[in-house]
């Protein structure tokens, strides 16, 4: 049995990471399907920004950081048999999750209100890119602790680098425990110390203006009241990455640029002593494009297409479609030539891509049984049935896909 099945049955948390544009969200959702089917667990998939059709397929309506269940009967239909587990999906609502976090940690109503209306806070919670990574982790932590699910699969937010996600809790803790932060709040706290830091404030004032500085200072002062809880929290959140029952699935498409980023992510996991569960290479061309015999035939046809076309028209003169064609024999011959050439050219084009893909995959610094290939699909994942097909490929585990 493949590594994916074991991974899904052994883990409580699966973090799906990888470069943008490789089908990460689809793979995360399909992993949820596979998990519900193979392990019988109660599974939650947290997505960040699913494509509309995938969201529709999963029955996701609007943002909901709490899980909503995918219809069991539809799941059974899609699988073609009774699915033992249950599948839930949730979608990260960064702004609401931040507000919730503030509600939880603010010491009193007044502080809470002040934070929620501070312009810096508003900016951080809605626009600040890194804050999405952190809040995704935070949401994961909260759901994990609630013990409502046997397995939580997280689709990580699209970030500049996949690795940002791993560092988010640490960065957040550093951010709020930094000494520099104290500097910023000095004017508000201590008139005496202010003298020492005057040069800094003069420069900062000149560039950013007093209003901005006081907004920043207010923000950090307010946050200070929540600081111990917050840092503690960020540390615990970071801790779940290191759990034995947490595994990572890295997704990439087989082109060299995303593969390079995926490789980098794998080595970053290693450096943090976190273990890679599986690498899923998505949208791989079918292996027959690399079949040496077929490549040979394609070259033969490419070289001799004129001759083959003439021969075909001769030996196939009695074929129904040639006999009854409205086209003249000359025109039919020309058609045959172009089709033969196009078929051969196209095959060789795809063949060169498929060979390059295979090379990229072979270069991965991991064992074969840690690699699962999902073929290039000729359909959109727009309903549970098509998601079930992807899930099927994942369940098959490592090996060469065919279409």
């Amino acid at each position: 049995m493949a590594g994916i099945a074991e991974l899904l049955s052994d883990s409580q948390i699966v973090i799906v990471a990888g470069p943008g544009g490789v089908g990460k969200t689809t793979v995360a959702a399909a992993l949820g399907f596979t998990a519900a089917d193979l392990t019988g667990k109660k599974v939650l998939v947290i997505t960040v920004d699913p494509a509309k059709r995938l969201a529709d397929a999963l029955g996701l309506v609007g943002l909901t950081s709490k899980g909503s269940q995918v219809s069991a009967s539809e799941l059974d239909d899609a699988a073609g048999h009774k699915v033992a587990g249950r599948l839930f999906v949730a979608m990260l609502d960064a702004k609401a999750s931040w507000d919730e976090l503030i509600n939880r940690h603010a010491p009193d109503v007044a502080t809470r209100q002040k934070i929620l209306s501070n312009p810096i806070y508003k900016n951080i919670s809605s626009r600040f890119v890194q804050s999405h990574d952190y809040i995704a982790m935070e949401t994961l932590y909260e759901l994990y602790r609630s013990n409502q699910y046997d397995l939580i699969i997280v689709d990580t937010p699209p970030s500049r680098h996949a690795i940002d996600f791993l560092d988010a809790p640490g960065k957040m803790a550093d951010f709020f425990s930094s000494k520099l932060l104290r500097w910023l709040t000095i004017p508000a706290r201590n008139k005496l110390l202010m003298g020492v830091f005057k040069p800094f404030y003069q420069v900062a004032d000149k560039i950013l203006g007093a209003q901005f500085l006081s907004d920043v200072a207010e923000f950090f002062l307010l946050f200070e009241s929540m600081y111990p809880g917050f840092v503690e929290r960020a540390k615990s959140v970071a801790g779940i990455l290191e759990n034995h029952s947490t595994s990572f699935v890295v997704v990439s498409s087989p082109e060299s640029v995303p593969m390079k980023e995926a490789e980098y992510f794998i080595s970053a996991l290693d450096a943090r002593h976190l273990s890679l569960g599986q690498m899923v290479v998505n949208r791989v061309l079918p292996s027959y494009f690399r079949d040496p015999g077929a490549v040979l035939q394609a070259n033969k046809v490419q070289d001799g297409y004129e001759l083959f076309a003439t021969e075909f028209m001769k030996k196939g003169a009695s074929l129904e479609f040639i006999k009854t064609s409205e086209f003249s024999p000359v025109r039919m011959g020309a058609l045959a030539e172009r089709v033969f050439l196009e078929v051969a050219d196209s095959f060789l084009n795809f063949s060169s891509v498929a060979i390059e893909e295979a090379y990229e995959i072979s270069k991965l610094p991991i064992d074969d049984d840690q690699i699962t290939l999902v073929p290039h699909l000729n359909f959109d994942v727009s309903n549970l049935k098509s998601l079930g097909k992807v899930a099927g490929y994942l369940a098959m585990g490592s090996g060469s896909p065919t279409m």
């Binding site: 932060l181 035939q297 086209f327 051969a344």
Partner: protein, 327 residues
């Protein structure tokens, strides 16, 4: 809803600052490189700025990765990679007349910290550096291999965001001239790249809306990249289908020893891929309204990355004959 296209006859690359964005994996970098080569060849002194410094653009142009200081990698073509820390240092040096920022020691560090902490500061540093280069006019054209769709709006809107946050001070004053450059359609434009699949096309159209609604930046063009070439004409496709009837196959096997079963299978797969992608090409074209569009073919991997970039450039030039610049 109709989108406003460029009404003037100014060519896309006649502007000073062009951002190229799109969802991850759609080929922003190769298109930026291709445009850069085209412009440099046309005699424009061109600077390519990589914002998400991963060094990919250097690989596309077959040269060593560059730093913050622009390097001429071939005639008329310069390359730099954005670094907010260095942009900040440069800013302090230029505007505060602080000769050696290093001397400030912890002060410089603190600024660095504010840049990280205060939202929008990173973005304004990026945009500020680009606008500064436009103002200095050392280049005819600056092409930006920009961040992906998720982040570009916060960059383009950063002067607005900053002016909301910072109501006084030098930064506030500088935002004004940045906006003059950024929001002037004769100076600045954005190209959005997508591939013919659901999410990239959705994101491209959403981004086009957001650029219209949340920024005043001119949307110059939408590109659909990696479009599967049409394999057959209509009559060829009919022929191809009939070729797969059992009787025709047995003739084929006699004519071509060893048969071509897998080859036919491959063509069917290619046709299917094209069929799957078509609706998304159409959706993007329809959603583009009056904004110019271009379809670029999927390039097959024979040869070097540099060759791919050249081929892309040729395809672009063919598609956009007189749209890139005025004759």
């Amino acid at each position: 809803m109709p989108r406003n296209g460029s009404s003037n006859s100014l060519g896309l690359l006649d502007r000073s600052l062009v951002f190229i964005t799109g969802k991850g994996g759609v080929g922003k970098t190769s298109i930026t490189a291709a445009l850069g080569l085209l412009a440099a060849k046309a005699g424009k002194r061109t600077l390519i700025c990589e914002v998400d410094a991963k060094g990919d653009i250097a690989r596309h142009l077959d040269c060593e990765p560059c730093g913050f200081v622009p390097t001429e990698i071939r005639e008329n073509l310069f390359l730099m990679s954005m670094n907010t820390e260095e942009a900040l240092r440069e800013y302090l040096r230029i505007y505060l007349k602080v000769p050696v920022v290093a001397k400030l020691g912890p002060l410089a560090k603190t600024f660095d910290f504010i840049a990280n902490a205060a939202p929008g500061v990173q973005e304004i540093l990026v945009v500020g550096k680009l606008c500064y280069e436009v103002r200095e006019a050392r280049y005819d054209l600056i092409l930006v291999d920009a961040t992906s769709t998720g982040h570009i709006v916060s960059q383009l809107a950063s002067p607005k965001g900053i002016s909301e946050l910072v109501r006084l001070g030098m930064v506030k004053d500088q935002v004004a001239w940045m906006e003059d450059i950024l929001y002037d359609p004769s100076q600045t434009s954005v190209i959005i790249v997508a591939t013919p699949a659901e999410t990239p096309v959705n994101e491209a159209l959403e981004l086009a809306d957001r650029i219209d609604n949340e920024t005043h930046v001119h949307l110059g063009a939408l590109i659909v990249n990696k479009v599967m070439p049409e394999l057959f004409s209509r009559s060829e496709e009919e022929f191809f289908i009939l070729l797969q009837e059992p009787k025709a196959i047995s003739v084929l096997n006699k004519v071509i020893p060893g048969g071509i079963g897998l080859l036919l299978r491959g063509s069917n797969a290619a046709l299917e891929m094209r069929r799957c992608a078509d609706p998304y090409v159409e959706r993007l074209m329809a959603g583009a309204g009056a904004v110019p569009t271009a379809l670029l073919p999927l390039m097959f991997g024979e040869g070097s990355r540099m060759k791919l970039v050249r081929d892309l450039g040729e395809a672009l030039a063919a598609e956009w004959d007189d749209f890139l610049w005025q004759a």
